[in-house]
Point group: C2
Chain length 224, copies 2
């Protein structure tokens, strides 16, 4: 069968007459509802059915505005990106700006780790908020004196660390409990115990701060 060409001599269908039914739905509303749903029920509660119900609509209606659940996740991601604080890059010394940005970035995505697997592999094309962040960060690096060629690798490295740390922030306090195997891992068990008199003291925040300082110092040395 021949391809269904959309009418010869026309690149697009002519919009001749008629307007649709007044829509209750749009991408902004869907995004807001998805965010509220996630904050109340977590990502397990974010189903197309639940999303539709929270909007007072049938699940299939959503597909007139988003092509898939993955697109909903992309919309949520973009919204979160707009909340990351990169303002320091135009006002603070580079080190402080990076720290502020990294803490804000990690803080936001620590509560949205299921998005990380999506983001980390998602092209920034048509993601205005994400691009706005990258633009501001890039400018900050330029003004701090980084060679242009080093900037993207630096950002990639920092983002990798931030995403990894966001996962960490959700680890349970007893993640390093060696249990029955404590005897066979004496040095590790002792190092864990040394963190505090309380058992199972997971050092997510301390570790983030230490690693971030190391990255800032090491990458900062690339400035000319």
């Amino acid at each position: 069968m021949p391809a269904p060409t959309p009418a010869p001599g026309e690149t697009k269908a002519r919009r001749r007459a008629g307007r649709p039914m007044a829509s209750v739905l749009n991408q902004d509303g869907i995004t807001a509802a998805a965010l509220e749903l996630v904050s109340k029920k977590g990502y397990d509660g974010l189903t197309m059915a639940a999303l539709a119900r929270s909007l007072g609509v049938a699940p299939s209606a959503l597909y007139n505005h988003v092509s898939s659940k993955d697109e909903v996740l992309k919309l949520v991601e973009e919204d979160l990106m707009s909340k990351v604080d990169f303002g320091g890059f135009s006002t603070l010394p580079w080190e402080d700006a990076v720290r502020q940005w990294a803490y804000s970035y990690r803080g936001i995505f620590a509560r949205h780790t299921p998005l990380i697997s999506v983001i980390a592999v998602l092209p920034v094309t048509d993601a205005p908020q994400t691009l706005a962040m990258y633009e501001a960060v890039t400018e900050g690096f330029l003004q701090a004196g980084f060679p242009e060629k080093q900037i993207i690798p630096c950002i990639v490295a920092l983002e990798a660390y931030i995403f990894g740390a966001a996962f960490d922030a959700n680890a349970p306090a007893d993640i390093f409990d060696s249990g029955r195997l404590a005897d066979s891992t004496p040095h590790f068990t002792s190092a864990v115990r040394s963190l505090g008199p309380e058992r199972n003291n997971y050092p997510s925040d301390l570790a983030f701060s230490m690693g971030l300082d190391a990255l800032i110092a090491g990458l900062g040395a690339l400035r000319v």
Copy 2:
């Protein structure tokens, strides 16, 4: 109805007689089959049905040996951990050992990113391979002169970076293509272009190397 107490005067049911049907299945076999399935079909292809079929068995039979699909993922994770190369910690200078370990760790989990969200939050209790790795790494840090209290935070920071970088390694080459919005992000777009004459040159490996060097230098300064 009263609780079904397992017989008064006995804490456990007496094992009186009888042995089971000869089992074709066990956790090792399930793990091996899961790994092979993943390497051939990816994590989308790892379903309980496909796993059962590759073992010549009904899906429900798996549940006599694992309690859930999540447990299958844990088994796979443990197997992968045993393949991470931490041997340098007993033979190489600390910097080189960390580098070798980090590259090996990232290389393995870059092909298993769906596991990262599970691992990062999974207690190490009863995970012998994982604990063996932590023990060796801890020993390496001790011998290099790190104060005991600093070691776990250092490992946590390095692991966060490694996991984040593993995601990155799977990013498409055009992830930084700003597309139609290139005009509104001039500095960022230029920085991306500066990476090479070819468009869309994603610097995952370069970034990993740079960030790792920074972390090694920064954390290494904590030695006494």
